[in-house]
Amino acid sequence: MTTETFKLGYNDIHDDVVRSIVKTGPKYYIALATAGSITLLCFFFPWFYQLYYGIGAAGMNHPGVWGTYLASFIFWIGLSHSGTLLSCVLHLTNSSWRKAMYRSAEAMTLFSLVVAATYVMVHVGRPWFVHWAAPYPNQMELWPNFRSPLMFDVMAIATYITGSTIFIYMGSIPDFAAVRDRTSGWRNTMYTLLSLGWRGTDKEWHRLHWAYTFLAVLIIPLAVSVHSIVSWDFAMSIVPSLHQTIFAPYFVVGAIYSGTAGIVTVMFVLRKTMGFEQYITKVHFDNLGKLLLVLSLIWTYINGVELFTAWYSGTSEEYEALGYKLFGYYAWLYWEMILFCAVAPLLMFSTRFRTSFVPMLILSIAINIGMFTERFLIIATSLSRQYLPDAWGVYVPSLVEISIMVGSFALFTTLFLVFVKIFPSVSMYEVKETMATPKMEPLAPASGSPA
């Protein structure tokens, strides 16, 4: 597969990537400061306010007990599927176009999971006791309730975050070594520690390859199961429009969909800001676009299935919930979601669209907005229309919730900004694999020493 990277040499990659880590201009600091302060102002301060006064600071009510917090939680877990797909699946299918992007994608996974985990703390009524959901021996002699889908969640996400962390770290070891060899001072110390004494021997490469593949194979079912499990938080209830078997595939497809769109966004930003234009090219966007298109078609189909089964059931509960979704209080959100996630992605049938950077960026953001709306709608519309009409109600998010939503993106950005300065955000050794092996030139013989 020809890539533009053919024109580059190994050293160019090293130089580019190390430069991206070592050289920090004022723009970076401004970006970091902005992201950090928005995180503080929009995420942490409102959260502390909520911790002090109670969940009442959010807009949840009866029966809308779940709201944007859970929608965001699921959205962030969904975003986390980006890394998994790109890294693991495409690794196993030996696609070369993933190589420049997968490190950042894996980082996206990790940080999405971190933000999602923080969201659990935000959402829960008494977060200072949330550790009770973890199975540890305690003097109360109590174990958590393993029958609960939320417990499956805890287990799955813990496994996923552990797996992803090991995965990204392990895959970065050779790169850490490469950076170690090109930096000095405190960075050298840090990278020495991080690279765990990597010497680049054959055996080490062999072991790395096998470990990496092994984990890749492991993480794929994990990713599928994580989001299925998250979907079962809803599907195992008996709320009319939540209790559907389609939910597991729906959520997994939706997660991969929004994750991939997230990658497109992040790739665009990385290209521009880190100077990776030569590594992340039109080809990548083209392929991501194709993937997005396929996912959007599947997603549209699943939505259609949902609508159809609700209508076909003929029961008042499903019917009312469906009607409410389409024509009720949140109807404008529903049609916005359809526009952004089902209609707009059809533009990607055109190759020209797929290979244009800015349109893809805009579309990917639109898709993620649509996907967030989808998560929100699943919760809000279903809880508003349950079995007993007397108990129907409307939930409106409060300012605190919206602020925390904005803040979560800032938190993610802050973490990512820190990431790009520590991890090599493009996988150097994998990119080198796509390049032609440089010609080995014989060394100039030293005077008097044998070759």
Partner: protein, 761 residues
């Protein structure tokens, strides 16, 4: 760090040690005061930590007089229950009764006597001592009594019965004043007058719902606020489903579906004020069909000649077939019972309407029958009826005040500034009275205009008694005792009156030192009427047994035989109702109704009642106007739209509620909100429909025809969100409330799905 020599080091250590020690001592000294697990070393007699003490008493949240049993814990009232031994409540209690605890522990209670500070009516009060307050009032009374001008003293109280009523009577008699008035907005003046006219009885009969088989209610919301709602609910429950193979049928006739209308098997909308005509139409049919076989049949036929079903259908809007069907079933079902009241009694033809209802009972032979209407014996204690002031009487009082004929007005627990329409000009009249004394526990609108406030205990802190009216077909009484020590510097109403009596020099006739003493004196007479078994114990044992049981009864009964005066028959007839305003200018008829939560406004200062959803609409914390759906559609009104309701005598702005069961040209507003005073929970919330009522009168009693005001409805274009707790009040085919009965398909798939597993071990 500089070199320190030994001496300096030791100095530093010493200083450090002393300051640490000092800090430690400071902290210890400022620690929280030690808390005691058990607050008393020698606890009062009824304090047992961790154990409940129950006291029986009588509820005063409405005039019904249910017996209650209050659970107290370490001297604090925790829960009010119905007293199972009391015949009126029999263990049940209504929602307002349960909220009595919040009247006791209300943050806005008056805590000490007060006097108006400074001139003018702007209510700023200064605290005074009881001695000061009682002296000020007592001296004035003494002066007036001595000068034989006792008639310049008026006493206006909420309807009271029992020995407090007797005490007030005695008090006013000693003053030489005839101006003793009981004033309750909801007192059924027309019902009493109708009973007087028809039966010659000054007491209400007992309406035996528990044993009836068909109840016809003409406007009386007997389950919610008509006379004795808890007892009627009890009877309702029993006659509905407690007798094997017998289920009573309930029919409600009113222009707006009330709670009783919702519970009824059939709700019949009749034009406002024509309920009596409908009753006579039924009566006509009963006589015409030969279902009445009394000797005076001829007189009845003559009297009812004009009330043919067709003519009546024309006037009432109820189809003639319905009238005849109802009449037939009423006559055929034995026993049946017809009751009337509520809005039907509050029209210009109110008394005649209720006489017509009595006539129905007579013609169906329900008088003196179980399941019908049972006469009551003389109550063992004084009733309130003879002093109950109609609207006209209150207007007269106000006029007398304006003429300067009143020097002192003592007000006890009634709030006429709120419950009288402004056309009575009562507030202005109060300004003309030099000394207005209020004995209320709360700063309501009337008390805010008082000169001296001598706050009473709430009913949970005071001694009293009650003889419920109507009785149960036999005499019933109960003693109301304090369940907690008084919270504040207040006194019992009876004690205040006794003190004032003393101060005005009437202690030779009114010698008792406390209400408790007076009660015992009064109950001694009841004791002496007792049978041999009662007299076998001494009075103290009797008194204790009455308190322990929370109820007392006597198996006397009223008359059963009844013969109707023939002149009454001739006088029977119901004129069409008269309304204020013209139909063109004021196309709607206003139907104000007592709300379940607040009754006549007295419950508005209880947070539980404010947050309790209205049973029919589920609205909380506000007022609304109920509009028929078709009318609303025609006027393009939806829920929450603010409308202006204008009567010939006032205007209100209130949001709309679309109400499926109200006549198209009738609108209804609940009574109870719209307070200008009365505490933080009640103040400035909602509207008071009484404010716009026209001074239409029922001529015989002189009472306010509160259902006879015409109004107009105009959209203002504004909107508010009506705060409701219900989402959508339609079950959309989900069969949440399932029905069964003749001709109705049982729609649930699983009929009897209980997994009964036999326990074999």
């Amino acid at each position: 760090m500089p070199n320190i020599d030994r001496r300096e080091f030791l100095k530093l250590v010493g200083a450090g040690g002393v300051s640490v020690g000092g800090g430690f001592m400071l902290r210890e000294a400022n620690k929280d005061q030690p808390e005691y697990l058990i607050p008393h070393v020698l606890a009062p007699e009824d304090f047992s930590s961790g154990l409940d003490t129950f006291y029986n008493s009588v509820c005063s949240m409405c005039p019904a007089g249910c017996g209650i049993s209050v659970r107290t814990r370490e001297g604090r009232a925790k829960k009010i229950e119905g007293n199972p031994a009391h015949p009126v409540s029999q263990g049940g209690l209504c929602t307002l009764g349960q909220a009595g605890l919040q009247a006791l522990y209300n943050p806005d209670r008056l805590t000490a006597p007060m006097r108006r500070a400074g001139a003018g009516d702007a209510g700023s009060f200064e605290e005074i001592t009881w001695e000061q307050g009682l002296k000020q009032v007592g001296d004035r009374l003494d002066l007036l009594r001595a000068a034989r001008r006792g008639n310049r003293v008026a006493l206006l109280t909420q309807g009271v019965r029992g020995h407090l009523a007797q005490l007030l009577e005695s008090f006013m008699r000693q003053l030489g004043s005839s101006r003793l008035l009981h004033y309750d907005f909801d007192h059924p003046h027309t019902l009493y007058a109708a009973n007087q006219q028809f039966f010659g009885e000054s007491r209400l009969p007992y309406y035996d719902l528990a044993n009836t088989r068909l109840l016809l209610s003409f406007g009386a919301d007997y389950l919610n606020n008509w006379i004795s709602p808890v007892h009627h609910s009890l009877g309702f429950g029993e006659s509905r489903q407690s007798r094997p193979d017998v289920r009573a049928r309930f029919v409600q006739i009113e222009p707006r579906m009330s709670i009783s209308g919702a519970a009824a098997d059939e709700w019949i909308p009749a034009k406002p004020g024509t309920e009596g005509i409908l009753a006579l139409g039924m009566a006509h049919h009963i006589v015409a069909e030969g279902n009445y076989s009394g000797a005076d049949r001829g007189a009845w036929t003559t009297a009812l000649a004009d009330y043919t079903p067709d003519a009546v259908a024309e006037q009432t809007g109820v189809p003639a077939t319905t009238i005849t069907r109802l009449a037939d079933s009423f006559a055929d079902t034995a026993p049946s019972l017809a009751i009337g009241g509520g809005a039907a009694g509050n029209h210009s033809n109110g008394v005649d309407t209720l006489v017509a209802v009595n006539a129905l009972n007579y013609l169906a032979a329900n008088i003196g029958q179980e399941g019908g209407l049972v006469f009551n014996p003389e109550p063992a204690g004084p009733a309130s009826q003879q002093h109950q002031a109609s609207y006209s009487a209150m207007v007269e009082l106000a006029e007398a005040a304006r003429q300067g004929e009143i020097d002192v007005l003592i007000i006890n627990g009634t709030n006429p500034v709120f419950t009288l329409p402004p056309t009575a000009e009562f507030a202005e009249a109060l300004a003309q009275i030099p000394l207005v004394v209020s004995l209320s526990s709360f700063l309501d609108e009337t008390t805010a205009l008082a000169d001296v406030i001598l706050p009473s205990h709430t009913y949970l802190e005071s001694w009293g008694d009650d003889f419920p009216e109507p009785g149960m077909g036999f005499s019933v009484g109960a003693v109301s005792q304090p369940v907690v020590s008084p919270l504040y510097n207040t006194r019992g109403t009876g004690d205040i009156i006794l003190d004032l009596a003393r101060r005005m020099g009437a202690s030779s006739v009114i010698p008792w030192q406390s209400m408790e003493e007076f009660l015992k004196y009064g109950w001694r007479r009841i004791y002496q009427r007792g049978d041999a078994q009662t007299l076998a114990q001494d009075f103290d044992a009797f008194w204790t047994s009455v308190l322990k049981a929370g109820a007392w009864g006597e198996t006397t009964s009223g008359t059963t035989a009844f013969s109707l005066n023939p002149d009454v028959i001739a006088s029977i007839g119901v004129a069409p109702p008269e309304f204020s305003g013209s139909e063109e200018d004021y196309p709607f008829i206003l139907h104000p109704y007592l709300s379940a939560n607040f009754h006549d406004g007295r419950g508005a200062n209880l947070p539980w009642m404010q947050e309790l959803p209205d049973p029919m609409t589920s609205v909380v914390y506000g007022s609304w106007v109920e509009v028929n759906p078709v009318t609303a559609e025609q006027m393009e009104l939806s829920e929450g739209d603010l409308v202006d309701i204008q009567s010939p005598h006032g205007q209100l702005r209130v949001p709309v509620f679309i109400y499926p069961a109200i006549m198209p040209n009738v609108i209804a507003i609940p009574i109870g909100q719209g307070h200008g005073e009365y505490g933080r929970y009640a103040k400035d919330r909602g509207v008071n429909p009484i404010e716009i009522l026209s001074p239409q009168l029922e001529p015989i009693t002189g009472n306010l025809a509160s259902s006879a005001t015409r109004v107009s409805l105009t959209a203002t274009g504004g909107r508010v969100k009506l705060v409701k707790t219900s989402g959508v009040s339609r079950d959309l085919g989900r069969d949440i409330v399932q029905h069964t009965g003749a001709g109705v398909e049982v729609s649930s798939a699983v009929d009897n799905s209980i997994p009964i597993t036999e326990v074999t071990t």
